[in-house]
Amino acid sequence: MDSAKRLSLSEAVSRFVQDGDAVAMGCAQETLIPFAAGHEMIRRQKKDLTLIGPISDILFDQLVGAGCVTEIRAAWIGNVITGSAYHFRRAVEEKTLRIKDHSNLTLAMALKAGAMGVPFMPTRTALGSDLYQTNPDLKTLSCPFSGVPVTAVAALTPDVAVVHVQRADIFGNSHVWGNLGVTREACLASRHVILTAEEIVDTTVITGDPNRVVVPGFRVSAVVHAPWGGHPSPVPGYYNRDHQAFIDYRNCSKTPEGFRAWRKEWVDPVDDGRAYAEILGNARRESLAITHRRPSVPVDYGY
């Protein structure tokens, strides 16, 4: 068995997210977004990060607002239920942020290439689009067999993928369920993987259902116990999406003053040793609780 990889959130981010790193986050799109880890990057004042993800439902905007980001490679940066992400928008308009525009499929292919150890992957999307104008990682190629045009997408190999999961053991083995987005590809493409987990469980829980693992423990660098670490995004089996938090963030993030107030309420207090769950409060946690339980029927891996 590998040695234990359990770290505090602060240790994991300090050790495995360096200034200038390319960081993949929000890989499951709307669910399981690693907000706790992103907020720790804000508190540690990480600099010059390149953020990679398919869509970002406000997390990338928060890191841009905090001055942590110089480049984004993504398909969509906004707030899913309200529209624009204001810091992202301002930063692109003021040319303080570089962007390489992907579609969800080209980003998935870029990470797949990184995961497979090949220099690029072909796809039939994006042909004729202007994504080519704003992303040098896309080139048109003729299929060597049929001659049809395809889009070649250059491999992406992030320095670190940060992924929120339901449960993990201290060695980096984990279970994640729900929709997965590009979680699998991002973990396998990245040099390091940081897992934040709702629960830390015994290894036998994980090995009892190995089909539910998307990245093997030996590829994981750090495991962090982070209850409510995906809030306000939903975590299947744990809590529902906090729509009001996304609406509140939209309103706050319209101005720099509003953003500072948001940060003071949700990000900074954790540095003073307050647990995020405590900041969230009992009533809010209860309002997000899973009310319709639907456990799966166990499968048998016996021999």
Binding site: E30, W76, G78, N104, T125, V148, N179, L180, V182
Partner: protein, 276 residues
């Protein structure tokens, strides 16, 4: 007609957004595989499934396939009721594989700018070199526009959005006209309808140019033209968009009980179109 008026509840008890959701739903046929997008199309799919297309299958880009409606109202595709009891929870690459192989019949996308050939911009207003406004970007929209058998565009009808030429092509329509998609190597597809705040437009099979086929109640063809940045062709037998039936309205209200997307008398649902 100002856009603001378009969101107000009409005397007949439905909002313009109810009408648009209904029009979107009617683009789905039974037994089709539908790639469901954000906002209004989410409701359009639930409405179609609950009425005339009970066997339609929904594919959601974040990695969900389901052949039933979600057991409770949802605001977005990642809401847990939309995952619970799904037919398949998997990877984005799996969803995109279905699409790329040609197995998705119809998809829905929104847009901030569109031109006469249905090319869509959701990335940069004012061009990418010096953008006046940066919009969220493609998401899966470019993929849907490139690879679905057909796609439906849902957007606000304003002159600044219906432009002779879009500032950036996020999601290709018919490019520069007939033969363009084949020429750049796109395997199939193209937009089949544009559902706007003023009417419904389709594409001429020969010229691939957008054509007004239906106006919403109270809207004239002249109004539509005055909100369009090019000379708009009109179908000879211009129709009026049929209003939602009582059953359709009941279903929409069941899935959008607070009117978050479709609006209420007190709170117009302008979020639904992603008006930037």
């Amino acid at each position: 007609m100002k856009t603001k008026d378009a969101f107000e509840t009409t005397a007949s008890g439905y909002t313009l957004l109810h009408l648009m959701v209904t029009a979107a739903a009617r683009e789905v046929f039974d037994h089709e595989t539908v790639f469901v997008g954000m906002r209004l199309p989410l409701l359009g799919f639930l409405l179609a499934k609950s009425t005339h297309a009970p066997h339609a299958v929904g594919v959601y880009e974040l990695g969900v396939v389901r052949d039933t409606v979600s057991p409770e109202p949802i605001l977005t595709m990642g809401d847990l009721p939309n995952l619970s009891g799904a037919s398949w929870l998997a990877d984005t690459i799996d969803m995109m594989g279905l699409l790329q192989k040609g197995l998705v019949d119809v998809s829905f996308i929104g847009g901030a700018q569109v031109d006469r050939f249905g090319n869509l911009n959701t990335s940069y207003i004012g061009g990418f070199r010096s953008p006046v406004t940066r919009l969220p970007g493609s998401g899966g929209a470019c993929d849907l526009a490139c690879l679905a058998q057909r796609h439906i565009i849902v957007m606000t009808h304003e002159k600044r959005r219906f432009k002779e030429k879009v500032d950036y092509i996020t999601s290709p329509g018919y490019g520069e006209g007939p033969g363009w998609r084949e020429g750049v190597g796109l395997p199939r597809g193209g937009p089949s309808a544009v559902i706007t705040t003023l009417g419904v437009l389709r594409f001429d099979p020969d010229s691939k140019e957008m054509m007004l086929v239906s106006v919403h109640p109270g809207v004239s063809a002249e109004t539509v033209q005055s909100h369009t940045g090019w000379h708009l062709k009109t179908a000879r037998n211009l129709a009026q968009t049929p209003p939602p039936t009582r059953e359709e309205l009941t279903v929409i209200r069941r899935f959008d009980p607070g009117g978050y997307w479709t609006g209420t008398e007190k709170s117009p649902g302008e979020k639904a179109l992603g008006v930037f």
